[in-house]
Symmetry: C2
DNA sequence: CGATAAATGCAACCAAATTGCAAATCCTTT
DNA sequence: AAAGGATTTGCAATTTGGTTGCATTTATCG
């Protein structure tokens, strides 16, 4: 997969370049699936000194700038993924047991679906389509337990 | 709108009949929009003695029995609505300012959408389609403020 | 380099939801 | 109707994901 350049991304967004922002951004670019704040903190590890609060604030600035997309889940944790041209919007699958989030390969489908919707008077800013259920490994584990 | 019978609903679900369960169920049946645990607690008020924890547990038993649907929101509160035949599944709109949740009148559309999805190995149990943005009154309020 | 605005770290805080356990209630069987 | 066992509830404490206030540090620009 092709990737965005960290410096260019920050510059284009008008965000000042700090080690913490670079660490969060590079973690998200490297990731092959959406990450939550805790994931990011763990992945950065000792790479650079960074606080939990900073991760939240950095993610918020990225979201405001349109660099990342937010994917809220049933359980309450919010996941993040790159919102660049290399990663068009798509639905997600959330496992209610292991609380993992997976991207579903149906890019662009939201736009088609949106046309069937009458939002009334509301000003819609985003659509979240979240499938929930049991992932493959949790299905297996559950089957074994219940038999 | 037609309504379900409280006693029959509980009996069919195999749930014992307690004043607390009846209170929660009747509140949800009466409601004209999805409610969160706190809403339910407030609406029950002095009607019967009920604890916050009980509301959560009752809602959980209702969800397991398929009596209610869960609608998780971006902010972390979970809303609930009747899942009976009088109320087929539909998408929802969530206002990120006033945190209100509204039902969108597009019944049955999720089922159609599901057909376009390749879930891979996952066992899908539910689809949540959540529109987020600003409701009418929050648009107005925001406009006034920013001018 | 120095000034100033912006970003970060830390501790305290918050709201929603969950847990453990004792007391109360429900439901079946006498 | 009373008894007994299983289920449900209330209460206090805890967990979790996230936020706030404020002092310190860092980035950026002249
Ligand atoms: Mn994704
Ligand atoms: Mn609804
Ligand atoms: Zn899983
Ligand atoms: Zn609103």
């Amino acid at each position: 997969m092709e990737h965005c350049d960290i410096r260019t991304t920050l510059e284009n967004a008008g965000l000042s370049k700090t080690v913490q922002r670079e660490a969060v951004l590079s973690t998200l670019i490297r990731a092959d699936l959406p990450l939550c704040a805790r994931d990011i903190l763990v992945r950065i590890g000792r790479e650079c000194r960074i606080n939990k609060v900073t991760v939240y604030r950095v993610l918020d600035s990225f979201r405001t700038a349109g660099i990342v997309r937010e994917i809220p889940t049933e359980h309450g944790e919010t996941f993040y993924e790159m919102a660049c041209r290399h990663n068009p919007t798509h639905p997600h699958f959330y496992c209610r047991i292991c609380r993992s989030l997976a991207c579903l390969p149906s890019a662009g489908i939201e736009q088609k679906w949106l046309q069937g919707i009458r939002p009334g008077d509301a000003a819609i800013e985003s659509v979240v389509i979240n499938f929930t259920g049991l992932c493959k490994s949790c299905q297996k584990r559950n089957r074994t337990v219940s038999v």
